[in-house]
């Protein structure tokens, strides 16, 4: 109907005019009040006359505001500019929150954007978002965020940066890394624009799965970790991520590992640690791995072959050190050939054994496991200590592996 249309237009115009008028008047009043001192009859506890009661505004209220103790932070009436702070920066907060002295910020607790509304908040700890906010996911957390630069990160996380800058990952601050997504903290953690005051607004590796963490690290290290796809490996499938072993902020250990290499592996693989305590074992030294072997000489922790993540079939890397066992021989012991038997592991336990020389079984039982028809053929203590089949790895002289 035509009349209703006219009424609608009229009412809308009146409302717009009213809103504009109220806004202009309020602004003028506020401008006039700025710098004004309160009336003489208003005491320090009567701030609520003008500023209202904070307790009625927020779910969580800062205790001085709740108790109308405004001068805890603000200047007393007549001491300076109305509303001015009694101290600058984080020192203001530390006069009460002394236990947070080690909670590093360069500027102030609110200027970082974390405890942005210091009078009160609907979020716990006066955060602008809840600490218990559900983490949206590593990449989702930074979706749509702007790059802010490492200097912004350092303001709060200076301690991390101090470690990081001495690590190999400080390369990320090199001048040739011109694009922000490849530079500094944000090259790994993603753009920090969503992070101010929001714990969940940044790429958090402690919340990341193997695939997510892998994507970040492999952005640069994909070529280095040749074994194709880390996420296919046993480690990744078991929830072991890059940052489970590597601390990109650290500088103490090679490859930014959390601890020396062998210790790191055996910290989880406790059963294997026990195997290295047996009578004979490969010389893996937990105290100083450079004196002996490293776990990674046989295993590829990033993506090795099969369940044991080996760098190659055992018969290929065992002979790198045990070169005299490699052959080819005129009289080979075919049972050692991986194409027919189990290779070296036919007879040896790779980590450690209660029998000498890493043997699976200490005596003639070792040979009997294949030569069952020779169970009662023994000339001495066993097949080789008898002095007979001493060259059992293969020989160029004797088809029976005699010396």
């Amino acid at each position: 109907m035509a009349w209703s249309g006219r009424w609608l237009v009229t009412i809308s115009l009146v409302l717009v005019v009213a809103v504009v008028a109220v806004w202009r008047v309020t602004s003028a009043q506020l401008e006039g009040l700025e710098g004004m001192e309160p009336p003489d009859d208003v005491t320090g506890t009567d701030c609520s006359i003008c500023h209202g009661k904070f307790a009625e505004q927020f779910k969580y209220t800062h205790s001085p505001a709740l108790n109308a103790e405004c001068t805890t932070c603000h200047l007393e009436k007549g001491e300076g500019k109305h509303g001015g702070l009694s101290m600058e920066g984080r020192e203001l907060c530390l006069q009460c929150h002394t236990d947070k002295a080690g909670h590093y910020v360069a500027a102030s607790c609110w200027a970082t954007g974390c405890h942005a509304d210091v009078h009160g908040s609907d979020k716990d700890k006066l955060f602008i978002s809840s600490r218990t906010e559900e983490y949206p996911g590593f990449f989702e957390a930074t979706a749509g965020a702007q790059f802010v630069g490492s200097d912004q990160c350092i303001a709060c996380h200076g301690d991390k940066h101090d470690w990081w800058k001495a690590s190999m990952h400080a390369l990320n601050d090199a001048e040739d890394r011109v694009t922000p997504d490849m530079r500094g903290c944000e090259s790994c953690h993603g753009p920090g624009g969503n992070h101010f005051g929001r714990r969940a607004g940044i790429g958090d590796f402690s919340q990341a799965g193997a695939e997510e963490a892998g994507q970040v690290c492999l952005k640069c290290h994909a070529r280095e970790i040749f074994a194709s796809d880390f996420t296919r490996g046993t480690h990744a499938q078991a929830g072991v991520t890059c940052v489970s072993c590597h601390n990109p902020h650290d500088t103490q250990n090679k490859h930014e590992l959390y601890m020396p290499p062998n210790q790191l592996c055996l910290d989880c693989h406790t059963t294997v640690r026990a195997e290295f305590a047996r009578l004979s074992h490969h010389p893996v030294d937990l105290e100083d791995p450079r004196t002996g072997m490293l776990c990674v000489e046989c295993h590829d922790p990033h993506a090795g072959n099969g369940r044991s993540m080996l760098i190659a079939p055992p018969e290929e890397f065992c002979v790198k050190c045990h070169v005299d066992k490699q052959g080819p021989f005129v009289y080979p012991h075919v049972g050692y050939e991986s194409s027919l038997g189990q290779g070296c592991l036919s007879c040896h336990n790779q980590h450690g054994s209660n029998a000498p020389n890493l043997l699976k079984i200490s005596d003639r039982g070792l040979c009997i496991q294949c030569h069952t028809d020779r169970a009662e053929h023994r000339g001495g203590r066993n097949c080789w200590t008898s002095g007979c089949h001493t060259e059992h790895h293969g020989s160029n002289q004797s088809y029976l592996f005699f010396q």
């Binding site: 601050d173 280095e224 305590a277 080819p328 050939e337 039982g365 020989s395 160029n396």
Partner: protein, 564 residues
């Protein structure tokens, strides 16, 4: 070159770099800008250490704490990291003893180069099982390596490595010297814009093995690996390797081997992956006289299902065809040839050699599953079957030493009893059977661990392991059985006064090498002097039947870390 000179050259080089490297700042530096550092991390330090040992009896190779030099030795370590934005790191470690044991180790990392030098000598005892009673002859192992790594922009990197090891064994009847030197080069690369990644390796090894029956010579190996993606789901990969052998004391001194694998990997979704590959290998066999494999080809297929949460099920199958040459050893002409004094060549026995292509199959399945919040398990079952190659080494028509069927089973269970306690159980089993001989051989190894979180970094682990083996064969009364058990305890904990680590290992063997072994070690770090460390080790090995091999050793060491 004496031992002291061996450790001096890496030491001097590392020290020179440390002192002369331009722009090296060891002390604290401010990050600059608006950053106000809380505390500069003390990354640079020097550790001084000394230890005294007392050994009675003899010692063996691969002792729990390394070689026991039976005297004083000193060690030191320098670690220095550069200041802000310096990608430089210098490390040096020295240990010297009064009995020619020791090591020197140094590493210099100046981006994009990293150089690592390593030299060690170890003088201890080796097992010599080649005699009517075992003995422990002395052996000396020298090892040195140098490695240079160049790392440019993560896109390309390469490594040049030299290593050499020399083992001198003295006194053993059949243990003789061995030495090898190896030069390796590795280059990782990518083909820009195509997603193709590759690796090239070249390794040249020189072997000097004066033992009778083992060859000395050179082995040169070249390997190329390539991986090429075709879209998001399909990847092709391949590895090719060529090795050239030139051995000194064989009739045909120059031999080659080729080995290549090519395959496809298909991932239709995040949950599924299918792969298939083909491998072909040819072994050098121009000198081989007895039964031997000349090469094989293998076709394999695998399917993996990963539904998430760490769960995984996989299964695979491979079929292998081996190019096998069987020498009919029971032929009278062969026996007389082999028992003669003249050197036998492959041509001499060609007439009594049969060539055939036995097929063997391997089907396997494995899983890893989070059965509940606290219980996880993984396992794998391997079943080998087929027509293994025959030998008549022992008697005409004798069955092959290769079993007709073999089942390998292994499983690993982990149960979190509570937030602090975890139990682990690991089983390995092998069952082999020979139908024509009606015999079988079983091997079982069981180990269990209990891990307790003591809060903070504190951790305690108890481990128990046992292995047994047994033979079942008709008409064999003297069957074989063995039983070995070991108990291991490790404990790390923090205390208001000291941080400490304790290790305990006890082994009881009831096999032929009947013995007990006990090793106890402790690391102690007083809280009041956090840079001070103490280490005590006690080791005892006691044989029940063999005399002369018992050992008792005590070592006490102290270290101090000086930060700067």
């Amino acid at each position: 070159m004496t031992w002291s000179k061996r450790i001096l050259w890496p030491a001097c080089l590392a020290a020179a770099w440390t002192l002369l490297a331009p722009g090296m700042v060891l002390a604290d530096d401010d990050a600059g800008g608006s950053c106000t550092c809380v505390e500069q991390p003390g990354a640079s330090y020097v550790v001084f250490g000394a230890a005294a040992e007392d050994v009675s009896g003899t010692t063996q190779a691969n002792g729990l704490r390394g070689a026991y030099p039976n005297g004083w030795y000193v060690s030191s370590r320098l670690f220095a990291a550069g200041g802000p934005y310096n990608r430089q790191r210098y490390e040096l470690r020295l240990q010297d003893t009064g009995s020619e044991n020791g090591r020197g180790w140094g590493r210099i990392a100046v981006w994009p180069l990293s150089v690592e030098l390593n030299s060690s000598r170890r003088d201890d005892y080796a097992w010599d099982l080649h005699g009517l009673s075992p003995e422990l002859p002395r052996q000396r192992t020298d090892y040195r390596s140098a490695q240079l790594r160049w790392h440019k922009g993560e896109a390309q990197n390469m490594q040049l490595r030299y290593e050499g090891r020399k083992i001198d064994r003295q006194g053993g009847t059949l243990l003789r010297d061995l030495e090898y030197r190896r030069l390796g080069y590795q280059y990782n690369f990518s083909v820009g814009g195509t997603g193709v990644r590759g690796q090239y390796c070249q390794v040249n090894t020189e072997v000097d093995a004066p033992r009778i029956g083992v060859s000395s010579g050179k082995i040169d190996t070249s390997t190329v690996r390539l991986e090429a993606p075709f879209g998001d789901k399909l990847t092709a990969y391949g590895t090719g390797s060529v090795a050239h052998f030139s051995f000194d004391n064989l009739l045909d001194s120059s031999m080659d081997t080729t080995d290549y694998t090519t395959g496809l990997r298909y991932r239709p979704s995040c949950d599924w992956e299918f792969s298939a590959d083909y491998r072909h290998k040819e072994n050098p066999s121009s000198n081989a006289v007895s039964s031997h494999s000349d090469g094989f080809c293998r076709l394999a297929a695998t399917a993996v299902y990963t539904p998430g949460c760490g769960n995984r099920i996989e299964a695979g199958y491979n079929c292998q065809k081996t190019n096998y040459f069987q020498l009919h050893m029971q032929d009278p002409s062969v026996r007389s040839l082999l028992h003669g004094t003249a050197q036998v060549t492959p041509a001499d026995v060609a007439a009594v050699t049969s060539n055939y292509l036995p097929r063997t199959h391997n089907a396997w399945a494995g899983f890893r599953w989070q059965l509940s919040d606290r219980l996880s398990a993984d396992g794998r079952l391997d079943y080998h079957f087929g027509s293994p190659p025959l030998t008549d080494l022992v008697q005409e028509g004798s069955a092959s030493p290769f079993p007709d069927k073999r089942l390998d089973a292994s499983t690993d269970w982990n149960y979190e009893v509570s937030d602090k306690d975890t139990l682990g159980l690991k089983l390995n089993q092998q069952n082999s059977s020979w139908n024509d001989r009606d015999s079988s051989f079983d091997l079982l190894s069981v180990s269990g661990t209990w891990t307790r979180d003591l809060g903070g970094p504190g951790l305690m682990t108890l481990a128990l392991s046992n292995s047994t083996s047994s033979l079942s064969a008709p008409d064999v009364t003297d069957t074989y059985a063995s039983d070995n058990t070991s108990y291991v305890v490790t404990l790390y904990n923090e205390h208001p006064i000291v941080d400490y680590t304790l290790d305990f290992a006890y082994t009881n063997s009831t096999g032929a090498e009947r013995y007990t072994q006990t090793a106890v070690g402790a690391d102690i770090g007083p809280r009041c002097i956090p840079d001070l460390g103490l280490r005590v080790d006690w080791f005892d090995r006691n044989y029940k039947t063999i005399t002369g091999l018992n050992t008792t050793a005590l070592e006490v060491g102290v270290t101090y870390k000086l930060r700067f």
